[in-house]
Amino acid sequence: MSQDIATIRVTRYRPEKDAKPFFQEYKVPYRHDMVVLDALNYIKAEIDGSLTYRWSCRMGVCGSCGANIDGEPKLTCASFLHEFKGRTITVEPMTHFPVIKDLVVDMQDFMEKLVKIKPWIIREKETPPEQGEYKQSAKELERYSQFSSCINCMLCYAACPIYGLNEKFLGPAATALAYRYIEDSRDQGKEVRFPIVHEMEGAWECTLVGECSVVCPKGVDPMLAIQKTKILGATNAIKSLLMPRGGR
């Protein structure tokens, strides 16, 4: 029996050599249980050591291996070759991001956005650990737990048409993360966080097509978070117009 072969078409771009990106094709042995990352690793180990892409855990938990596979943003480590039609699979860097080299994109913008929403529990007064934990019931956890499953893979940004048009948009994952803290019963930082989320450009253009929620490999629903923060933002804005600010 002749060996089953898959063709992997990968975007190549080495800024020290190439004026612009182009496709390169590699042949790899095809197996039913092979993921796209296995194919890339095969190429790097056996055919071309210069092929450049990111990964680290190989099991869908670190979020570093995203790429556009046959046009869809996906994790290369969690996408089987057999999920795609035919034996030729195209792997490109995630859309909407500047490309550093081959499949590696610049994450700077996303990283800054993550920090901007203050992704930690804010307390009016910190109490020392000796005074015990900040307790939370299972019900309270339920309110935000899906939003805490995000692995920062940025696939939702690659899928988001609004982010593609306006880079200033806080975007799906960062909004979901902000919402995760807003909904956390232990957090007392809403006053600080609201203006940041509310001022985000682009949110009102979000048409709620929900591409972000479709591509998310972790079952996070960023669209829901955007929707909810919009509503919260609106009521909060009205409230602050109507009510004088009192000391607490």
Partner: protein, 408 residues
């Protein structure tokens, strides 16, 4: 970076530009995790290449108890993805080719709830006796959950179901899951005291990379959390206490310059080779060699072979090529440096294991099957030398709990 016996920072590569930088610090805490990728089958992420262990070792800190390598009994054969202990906790059975719950011969009183090391060895014994299954990724045994029923599997083990379906196309309600043992955790690591202090002024370590010795020769499940949270905090506090009383290392001091020169030399050397073998073949042979000769079952001959293989591979790596000569985002160069780290760390394992002529915890010698407290109730310490590692010993401090015989 070590100046006059004191650690004063690290050198690093800005991967994005390929630039070498030095980062000065009054104290350095190593928290880089384990080195599972030395082995063929591991539950670790593939970036676990032992870099932190190698850095401390090269700086002169011994690696302690490196022969104590924990194997986990239930990995998926191809990917090494871990199937949680809960699958056995809920009542799953381990079966050999004859459909037999073979653990009755090894841990009759505990069966599937027995300790990880004994279960891993039992699986290996079954496989070696020809009672395993043969698959495209080597031998395995079955983890059977079919008798647990849909409700238990869906409610209690949803993640197991998801993994089996996703990675094997198997529905565990109707079919057993193929599993095999694989590397899971390093009990050994950078020698530290209770405060994460390595003995070298300015250098601390915490987490799996460190060996504070709370795991002895065999870690119990979840104790890695204690290592991170309790000893991570201890290391942080100790490093902070040290840092506040020290002067900052000065910029542009000679050590900084020397280190840069040395690193440059290495890079130039690695990147200049035009012909030779790929680093990937060296890496694969290391992983296979460690699995085969320094794995679950060891003896004098296999360990000798392990030492030899790693020695040879070190020579081969120094002649291997990195095809990618770019400065920008050179992941192949990073992989070469990581392999260099892995080989240093890997070498300490068979050298430490060969001298421990007994079986203890996760370390099992088929030629010395008994524990020998008279001679080996002691920590091994691997020191870096220009040649193979030098092994000496440091005493075990026993407080409340006396070592006892393991009976199950």
């Amino acid at each position: 970076m070590v100046d006059d016996g004191r650690v004063e920072g690290v050198t690093a590569i800005e991967v994005r530009t390929g630039e070498l930088v030095t980062i000065l610090g009054k104290a350095v805490i190593i928290a880089t995790g384990g080195c599972g990728r030395i082995f063929q089958f591991t539950t670790n992420g593939w970036i676990k290449t032992g870099d932190g262990m190698a850095l401390a070792y090269r700086a002169g800190v011994p690696l302690k108890d490196m022969e104590m390598v924990q194997y986990h009994p239930t990995l998926l054969p191809n990917t090494g993805i871990l199937i949680t202990e809960a699958a056995r906790g809920e009542g799953g059975h381990l079966l050999n080719k004859d459909g037999e719950r073979f653990l009755k011969r090894y841990v009759p009183n505990k069966m599937e709830l027995g300790p990880r090391d004994i279960l891993s060895r039992a699986e290996m014994s079954e496989i070696n006796a020809g009672r395993g299954f043969e698959g495209p990724y080597g031998s395995y045994v079955n983890l059977d959950l079919t008798h647990l029923g849909k409700i238990t599997i869906e409610d209690k083990l949803p993640f197991v179901k998801e993994l089996a379906e996703k990675y094997l196309g198997i529905d565990p309600e109707h079919e057993p899951i193929p599993v095999r043992p694989g590397q899971h955790y390093m009990m050994g690591g950078v020698h530290t005291d209770m405060h994460g202090f390595t003995g070298m002024p300015g250098l601390y370590a915490a987490g799996e990379v460190a060996c504070v010795s709370m795991n002895g020769a065999n870690r119990l499940g979840s104790n890695s959390l204690t290592e991170c949270l309790v000893f991570g905090a201890a290391a942080g506090r100790a490093a902070a206490r040290y840092a506040v009383k020290m002067e900052s290392p000065s910029f542009g001091n000679p050590v900084q310059g020397e280190v840069m020169m040395e690193e440059k030399r290495i890079f130039d050397q690695i990147l200049k080779h035009e012909q030779g073998e790929r680093i990937s073949s060296v890496r694969t042979e290391m992983q296979n060699g460690m699995e085969k000769h320094v794995g679950i079952y060891r003896d004098e001959n296999s360990l000798k072979e392990g030492c030899r293989i790693i020695g040879d591979l070190k020579t081969r790596l120094s002649n291997a090529i990195v095809e990618d000569k770019d400065h920008v985002y050179n992941t192949e160069l990073v992989a070469a440096l990581e392999l260099d780290f892995m080989l240093d760390v890997a070498e300490t394992i068979p050298y430490s294991a060969i001298q421990r002529r007994e079986s203890r915890g996760a370390h099992y010698r088929t030629d010395y099957t008994k524990r020998d407290d008279a001679n080996f109730l002691t920590h091994s310490m691997a020191h870096k030398t220009p040649g193979p590692p030098r092994i000496d010993y440091s005493p075990v401090t026993i407080t409340r709990w006396k070592p006892e015989e393991r009976v199950y």
